[in-house]
């Protein structure tokens, strides 16, 4: 079975290399969109974004005031955002719920004191489900502020230690012991988040993966139309070997496209995919799920055009539900729960688990979920596979 399958794989890859549309879908489109989305969202300076934020200052201390007066008021001065100051968390929540603001920052009581004492503290972000981009921006503002505070705190810690004239590595050790001063707590998100550039690099890659794999299996319908399927069926080759060869083409196309995208987005826009082994596991599982879904979908098609349409509809719906166009996980609620019915969401969740330097073990849950999709789609596709190799 392997030899004819490999012959088909080799022939198909040669054809795909000559076919510009495969390259467009597999590489150019996802890369372009990742760049556009990533660029737009990674800077708050985009002119098109009209954002409004709420802020609740329950702290009243120097850190909270600094955040409100320097960071947020600064955005307002620059015409990038409008700011509404409210008194209670309830009010802030209402603002976000009503859509009056994209997100409300909650600066909890004791924030300044905690930061001063080198203890962890929290800034909450309460987001509006309907303004995902605004929520994303709010999160990155809070992130940036936290990072700056941390740097300051480390410097202070180092200065203190210098007073004690310790050796250099002891200083470094002290600095490391200091707790990160602020933990961004997102009232709506349960998961760690990817930065916008990485998020869109990954989401566009996985979104287009579900289009790319069609360049393998669905060519069975092209072969039927051009008569060559008949030739394959008359050759001394089992029908299973033909299916295997086509499935291998899908898998190789998917793997190649994902590899190119991971490398290219890392190099060009600085996407941070995380542990290579973890990413490889997620990619492999994702490619299998996409191939199995593709096989299932095209088993309902009679013509190449139908196959293309069905495939596009399914890939689009799964992509939308799976949150590839905005980080559903950052918003939470029922949308996030629905999104978990897609391999896309698990793929992005797996990358979220890798964010911040976790090892490949962190993705095993997500990989298992994606493989479960692959198994279910695959079993259904195998049950219907005879239709794919009818003359």
């Amino acid at each position: 079975m392997a030899r004819p399958a490999l012959a088909i794989l080799g022939k198909d890859l040669r054809q795909r290399v000559r076919d510009r549309s495969a390259f467009l879908v597999a590489v150019v489109a996802p890369l372009t969109l990742a760049l556009v989305f990533g660029m737009t969202l990674s800077g708050v300076s985009s002119d098109d974004l009209e954002l409004s934020f709420g802020v609740v200052d329950l702290d009243g201390g120097v850190v909270a005031t600094g955040f409100t007066d320097e960071v947020l008021a600064g955005l307002e001065r620059d015409g990038l955002a409008t700011l509404t100051v409210v008194r209670t968390v309830g009010e802030g929540r209402r603002l976000a719920a009503d859509g009056d603001v994209a997100a409300t920052f909650v600066l909890p009581a004791g924030l300044s004191e905690a930061v001063g004492a080198g203890r962890p503290a929290r800034i909450e972000v309460i987001g509006d489900v309907d303004q995902p981009i605004g929520v994303l921006v709010a999160r990155s503002i809070a992130d940036t502020f936290a990072a700056e505070l941390e740097a300051t705190q480390v410097a202070v810690g180092a200065a203190l230690a210098a007073g004690a004239t310790g050796p250099v590595d002891a200083l470094a050790g002290r600095a490391r012991e200091l707790a990160p001063p602020i933990v961004i707590e997102d009232a709506t998100a349960t998961k760690k988040q990817l930065d916008p550039v990485t998020f869109y690099s990954a989401s566009m890659a996985v979104f287009f993966l579900f289009f790319t794999v069609q360049f393998g299996l669905s060519t069975l319908l092209d072969e039927r139309r051009q008569g060559t399927l008949g030739r394959l069926l008359v050759a001394p080759v089992s029908r299973r070997a033909i299916l295997l060869g086509k499935a291998l083409t899908s898998i190789v196309m998917g793997l190649a496209s994902m590899t190119v995208l991971v490398v290219a987005t890392s190099l060009i826009v600085g996407a941070e995919w995380g542990s290579p082994a973890g990413v490889a596991l997620l990619v492999a599982a994702g490619v299998l799920a996409a191939t199995a879904l593709s096989a299932l979908v095209i088993s309902f098609a009679r013509t190449p055009e139908q196959a293309g349409n069905f495939q596009s509809i399914v890939a689009l719906v799964f992509g939308l539900l799976g949150g590839v166009f905005f980080p559903i996980a950052a918003i939470g609620g029922w949308l996030e729960r629905v999104s978990l019915a897609t391999p896309h969401a698990w793929f992005l969740r797996g990358l979220g688990d890798l964010a911040g330097g976790a090892g490949p073990g962190a993705v095993l849950g997500a990989v298992a979920a994606i493989l479960a999709f692959a198994a279910v789609f695959g079993a259904l596709a195998v049950a219907r596979s005879a239709r794919l190799v009818e003359p």
Binding site: G10, D19, G230, R231, A235, P236, S238
Partner: protein, 314 residues
């Protein structure tokens, strides 16, 4: 024939809904023999071939190729078959050579042997100098020749050609026919379908005349023509009410079949010479203006007309 037949098929039946496209077809082909299936459009030639090659599920009947029973799921038995489909089936985005290379891999040929066979196949069909152009850029006739080259690449014991010369210029057609003759001379069994009587007469050792899914007669050309007996084919060319002419002439004693084709009335007539004046008189009376008369010795066309009452191509 003494050698064991390469193909034995019996009682083949294929239904498409209510239509019985093939209804109990059976024949044998020995090594070195060329067997022709001669029949008009829709006779069931392609459907028969599809069952013989294990492409189409059959509703009844058996196929044995090179001693092995063959079904759609057979793998080994199919290795003996070379298949040239009626519709051109090549990869337009691969070159001629790449097309052949792919099929050589699919048939499990060793690379070195494949290279040699690819060269030979390209020579046989006269495509050697265009082998490295994309098949999509070939002319219709060149695509057809590549279509054939793929079928004979692996030196099959049974070569199945489904109307391989349709739409080919006379020169290419002649080259193709010569190629088939050479292959049969080399011991290959050939199954050849056509609705060109001349091709069947030239190539085929034995011919099955198929119509409406049934083989109406089978034998060598001589045997088939003998079925018509002393009957000649008379062709009355002209204008006017040819349909009435056919009806009136068909009613005359001694006239066995009458049909209208291409501005002429074709008749199968016993003792044609004696009956000619009578035929012309009846033709004139029934409104026909006859301006040419041909009397043919019996040929396969006459046989078909005799057996089915209609012309091979209408």
């Amino acid at each position: 024939m003494s050698a064991a037949p390469v193909l034995v098929c019996t009682g083949l039946v294929k239904r498409f809904g209510d239509l019985v496209a093939v209804d109990g077809v059976g024949f044998e082909i020995s090594p070195g023999e060329t067997y022709g299936l001669l029949g008009p459009n829709g006779a069931g030639k392609t459907t028969t071939i599809s069952m013989v090659c294990g492409l189409l599920e059959r509703d009844d009947g058996d196929v044995v190729v090179a001693g092995r029973p063959l079904t759609t799921t057979s793998v080994e038995a199919k290795a003996a078959i070379g298949y040239v489909p009626q519709e051109i089936a090549v990869y337009p985005d691969l070159t001629g050579r790449e097309n052949l290379r792919f099929f050589s891999r699919l048939y499990g040929m060793a690379p070195a042997a494949a290279t040699e066979r690819i060269g030979e196949a390209l020579e046989v069909v006269g495509l050697a100098d265009r082998a490295d152009d994309l098949a999509g850029e070939y002319s219709g006739g060149m695509k057809r020749r590549l279509n054939i080259a793929i079928g004979l690449l692996h030196r099959p014991r049974l070569l199945v050609l489904d109307e391989p010369t349709v739409g080919v210029d006379p020169q290419s057609r002649n080259a193709i026919l010569e190629g088939v003759e050479a292959l049969a001379g080399g011991g290959i069994a050939v199954l050849y379908t056509t609705h060109y009587m001349e091709e069947a007469e030239r190539l085929c050792d034995r011919i099955g005349i198929i119509d409406a899914g049934v083989i109406r007669a089978e034998g060598t050309r001589r045997e088939l023509v003998a079925l018509v007996g002393e009957r000649d084919r008379v062709r009355l060319a002209g204008s006017g009410d040819l349909a009435s002419v056919a009806t009136a002439c068909g009613a005359l004693p001694g006239v066995e079949a009458a049909s209208v084709r291409d501005g002429a009335v074709d008749l199968i007539v016993e003792g044609a010479r004696g009956l000619l004046p009578e035929l012309l008189r009846v033709a004139a009376e029934s409104g026909g203006l006859v301006d040419g008369v041909d009397v043919h010795e019996p040929d396969l066309e006459s046989v078909f007309l005799h057996l089915t009452g209609k012309a091979l191509r209408d």
